[in-house]
């Protein structure tokens, strides 16, 4: 069975052009970029080229790019650095809907005597900047807010947030793992101090990430013991993956218009047709700014895992905000923070598209999902009550 892969916010296919670019750096050009000989030196040149390509996508300067092992590492490094830079400041601000890479770290800080403010979101998953402005004070070391939400695709007004935070003298970090490559970013005209991205959400391989650190931003490394990345991240470079990351950024730049054009149209068609064919649905984050590739659709009276298993039978790969799929017992913290009613939260499915998504794949979901939902509603006591009322 050929997969219909609509789970690109979880991970993406490595682009063929990216894979070709990295391929020689395993068995042939395996030199250490730090070596004095020509063999390492030629790899150094490619790593520098990759740094330039990442910088170009972000509108940044090459020396502002620090390669890491993943988005989670970038998030951890950014927050830890800020706390070391401002040891006297004991307050951190984030939001209730962050990725665990940020949220768990912030919650752990409370055990070490830090004050942590988790900003609320409204029913659409959107921030209230007034709440941010009221929360940030002289004691705030860092504010970390995600650029776009992985579950709903909701895009936060990050530049406005950064401006508010900078006025108060705190550092501003954003987890842009879901945003990079999908919406244009320009660090040259931004107030963001640090920004995280991840290779495997961007058609590069797993195991490589980037932390953007604005020039002049004080920074303390998390990994020490080597001069790599100008002392900001010790450890021999993951050269093949870094080179892949550079290529992926270059390719993403080429496809940026496609994301906001063709991919968005596919997502909008999927949303339109599913809501027309399936009664009692709700689009999570539908009333605000969203990424062009993400659709989080809640279907009342059914449970997400059943939907995913039946979709999987048809080769369709999606994801769910339901509790049962994760082994936890509560629906996703994002949907709960948005106040999505329980009738919907358990039956929320996320489809996340990419530039590889085709019309035919969207057609397949439009054909397969409605009968799955009616079948599960037939089976559900609440679904039956609901159908009876109709």
């Amino acid at each position: 069975m050929k997969e219909i892969y609509l789970d690109n916010n979880a991970t993406t296919k490595v682009d063929d052009r990216v894979f070709e670019e990295m391929r020689p750096y395993f068995c042939e050009l395996y030199g250490n970029p730090s070596s004095m000989h020509f063999f390492g030196g030629q790899v150094q040149k490619k790593v520098d080229e990759a740094r330039g390509r990442v910088a170009a996508l972000l509108g940044a300067m090459p020396d502002e790019i620090v390669f890491t092992a993943c988005g989670t590492e970038s998030d951890n490094a950014a927050i830890r650095s800020a706390l070391e830079v401002f040891p006297e400041k004991r307050h951190v601000i984030t939001s209730r809907v962050e990725h665990p890479a940020v949220l768990t770290q912030c919650r752990n800080l409370t055990k070490r005597g830090y004050r942590v403010t988790e900003l609320n979101v409204d029913g659409d998953g959107q921030l209230d900047l007034k709440e941010l402005a009221a929360a940030v004070d002289d004691d705030t070391a860092i504010v970390s807010l995600m650029y776009a939400n992985n579950e709903t695709g909701v895009v936060f007004p990050i530049e406005e947030a950064a401006r508010i935070v900078k006025e108060k003298g705190a550092l501003f970090h954003t987890d842009a793992v879901q945003a990079v490559g999908k919406i244009p970013l320009n660090m040259a005209q931004s107030g963001i101090d640090m920004l995280s991205l991840s290779g495997h959400k961007l058609h590069a391989p797993k195991g490589v990430g980037v932390l953007y650190v604005r020039r002049g931003t004080p920074f303390r490394p998390m990994l020490v013991g080597g001069h790599q990345e100008r002392g900001r991240r010790a450890g021999t470079e993951n050269t093949a993956s870094i080179i892949a990351m550079g290529k992926a950024c270059e390719v993403a730049q080429l496809h940026m218009d496609e994301e906001s054009g063709r991919v968005r149209e596919l997502r909008d068609r999927l949303q339109r047709e599913l809501t027309a064919l399936i009664p009692n649905t709700r689009i999570n984050g539908g009333g605000t700014q969203r990424l062009p590739n993400t659709l989080s659709i809640a279907m009342e009276f059914v449970e997400g895992e059943g939907i995913l298993l039946l979709l999987s039978e048809k080769g369709i790969c999606a994801s769910s905000g339901s509790a049962c799929t994760s082994g936890s017992l509560e629906p996703s913290h994002v949907l709960r923070a948005m106040g999505v009613p329980f009738t919907c939260a358990h039956g929320s499915i996320r489809f996340s598209l990419s530039r590889f998504t085709t019309d035919a794949e969207i057609d397949a979901v439009i054909k397969e999902l409605p009968p799955i939902i009616s079948r599960l509603r037939e089976m559900s006591p609440f679904g039956r009550e609901f159908l009876a009322k109709k």
């Binding site: 040891p87 009276f301 298993l309 049962c324 509560e330 329980f342 009738t343 358990h346 089976m379």
Partner: protein, 284 residues
Amino acid sequence: MWDYTDKVKEHFLNPRNVGEIADADAVGEVGSLACGDALKLFIKLDEKKERIVDAKFQTFGCGSAIASSSALTEMVKGKTLDEALGVTNQEIADFLGGLPEEKMHCSVMGQEALEVAIAKYRGVEAPKHGHDHVETEGEIVCKCFGLTDLFLKKVIASNKLHTAEQVTHFTKAGGACGGCIPKIKELIAEVMGEEKKVARERPTKLTNLKKMQLIQETLENEIRPQLWADGGDLELIDIDGPNVQVAFRKACAGCASSGYTAKFVEQKLREMVSDDIVVQEVQG
């Protein structure tokens, strides 16, 4: 992805006995939309009202909840009510070739629905699970899912559960806010007859040598690992009566909050060794 057995998958994809029985003799309902799973079970008895001739279900829940419901209805057909009451959640899981432990609560839900249905048919008070958010006998332990101590003790005993995590997997208790986990541990200790672990008592009288030894152990086992977690470290320089001199290393050295860290070290040593300990930071 869950490692479901082929039998679970088969019962999920082709569930037996979905639907309702209009003239059912007994109906049992457990769970709710808020809980994330719910089961409504219909039972039809033979003319003598002895044996179950038909069973049907409606389930809102994950793959294993649907498979467990399907298995349950297959298992009780042909049984007398007493025989059906003897079906345990473990037998439901076994019928399916096993369930992931995190999903055992699905099999428990099947068993509960059966008990409720039969109790209602017999006109006796339905057994109290708390699962359906009814204030009942016993004390509510898990507020999030409304589960009572009586219900939890029953599940702990019948499935021989040893950890709070297992109790969560079987009943959901403690799976949301986690506030009741200490209480769940007490229930396990009570049911499984385990002696509560006696809190490590602080020795009352210490010789100097013993005290120095205890200070070193506490530094090694309790304090330094916590500092390492933040990239810091310390070194013990000297112990002079109650005065403990330490030098901070790595990230702790020159860290502006080292005063705070010194307080933490002192507090920990006082807790574990002796109340009169004073920690001094020295350059060494």
